[in-house]
Subunit: 258 residues, 2 copies
């Protein structure tokens, strides 16, 4: 049995998110349905991260056990022929048997986009949060620096999430003005892992600081409280992009490899 | 009666084009319907260029006679409240009575975007032409240089178009690799005016050269022929953006102004 690493890109606007749900179309479901006739059997595809409804991915990673002998380039084309145009397989690679898209991941990069202007671009309606009140980017940058490092991020965890530990490490977090005409403001955040809604809750909190509701150092207090009710609102899903999933060098995945 | 210059942006995907049609929703129709309750009467809005179905605009310009006393910023907000999210009024200015969005225009800039890669970006499906066969950008650049200047562009005119003269001046035309991840290939073309389908027919012809069907200098022969059947196919509408409409300095518009 081969183990395949699939890198895919999607516009999340029309889907219920990565994960299969009782109703609605999920990316995982689409991918599994596209694989089934090729594999000649039902397959289960494991994703690196469960992007929510409306969240986009520039490079989501999934893994799947596959018995076929198809060349990976042929597989990419076959899947893209079946998948809707807003979901694209970018590449497929054979990986060692112990590679798992979710459990092997050691880091992720997300970007959150905001259009901070009176009039929203018609081209970014589904790809950025429209914040009309002018934000103080310097204050949001300062506040963001307090989040870098290893912390218990329970204050930024989705209310219904249940995980044993809120301890995560943010390697870097910063705001940048985008390039080009539309020029959204982009928050890039790189960490070893993220709690449910963590990026959106962080962005929602930083925007409260940006619009002047709170001072920059309020974030220190919120973080220390580990209390979700102290943080800002959850920023809307459609501004969020999963940009990259990181894995250790391939050799280290091979358990028992000389 | 005031004369207003309206600058607007739209995603043309869901519309039959700028101009009102017997059936389907047009940008002109949407704008006129949005104005009517504010003006208290039906109004006619004149656009600088009749973008086709699926063509986008970053800065289309329209003019309208308006009797109201509303502040222009208030008008912008009122119109955007009524218009769908894929059509946005960017600004409104009072202009001299003889300003006409179409007849006063002295130049236009269009951009045509191509994604030249095996897999199409899900985010550019509606905003770029997917050309899978690798194109020779240098050959397309060379061919494009032959189009700059004053020529009779009848060979690149839409088959059903009927205008007295095909004489137009292209001030500049060039291809550039886009910035950022998706990085579409962009053809920017700046001229004093364009025949129907002219930009799309030029791009369709340049792509024939890019994929190696024709040599670069074939374009000289096509241009000289003034025969539409000699040029390449019409590139799809959804890759085209009206980027800018140029007008003379305001004072020269004021007929009889001291």
């Amino acid at each position: 049995m081969r183990n395949l690493k699939i890198t895919l890109q999607y516009d999340g606007s029309n889907y219920v998110g990565w994960q299969r749900q009782a109703s609605g179309t999920s990316i995982q479901g689409l991918l599994e349905e596209a694989f089934a006739p090729i594999a000649g059997t039902r397959v289960t595809v494991h994703g690196a991260g469960r992007t929510d409804a409306g969240v986009h991915a520039l490079a989501q990673v999934a893994s799947v056990a596959f018995a076929g002998t198809h060349d990976s380039a042929v597989l990419v084309r076959a899947l893209n022929t079946v998948l809707p145009r807003d979901v694209r397989v970018l590449s497929i690679e054979d990986v060692p048997p112990d590679f798992h898209a979710r459990f092997s991941a050691v880091g992720k990069i997300y970007e959150y986009r905001i259009v901070n202007a009176p009039v929203m671009s018609p081209f970014l309606v589904r790809y950025a949060w429209h914040v009309t009140y002018p934000v103080d980017v310097a204050a949001m940058k300062t506040a963001a620096t307090h989040l870098a490092g290893a912390h218990d991020f329970a204050a930024f965890q989705g209310a219904r999430a249940h995980v044993r530990s809120g301890l995560r490490t943010i390697h870097s977090i910063d705001w940048q003005n985008g390039h080009g005409r539309a020029a959204p403001l982009v928050c890039q955040i790189h960490g070893d892992g993220f709690l449910r809604h963590m990026v959106r809750n962080i962005v929602g909190t930083l925007v409260e600081i940006g619009v002047g509701r709170w001072r920059s150092d309020k974030i220190v207090e919120i973080l220390a409280s580990r209390d979700r009710s102290r943080a800002g609102p959850t920023a809307p899903a459609h501004g969020l992009f999963l940009v990259q999933v990181e894995y250790p060098p391939e050799s280290t995945l091979l358990v028992g490899h000389p």
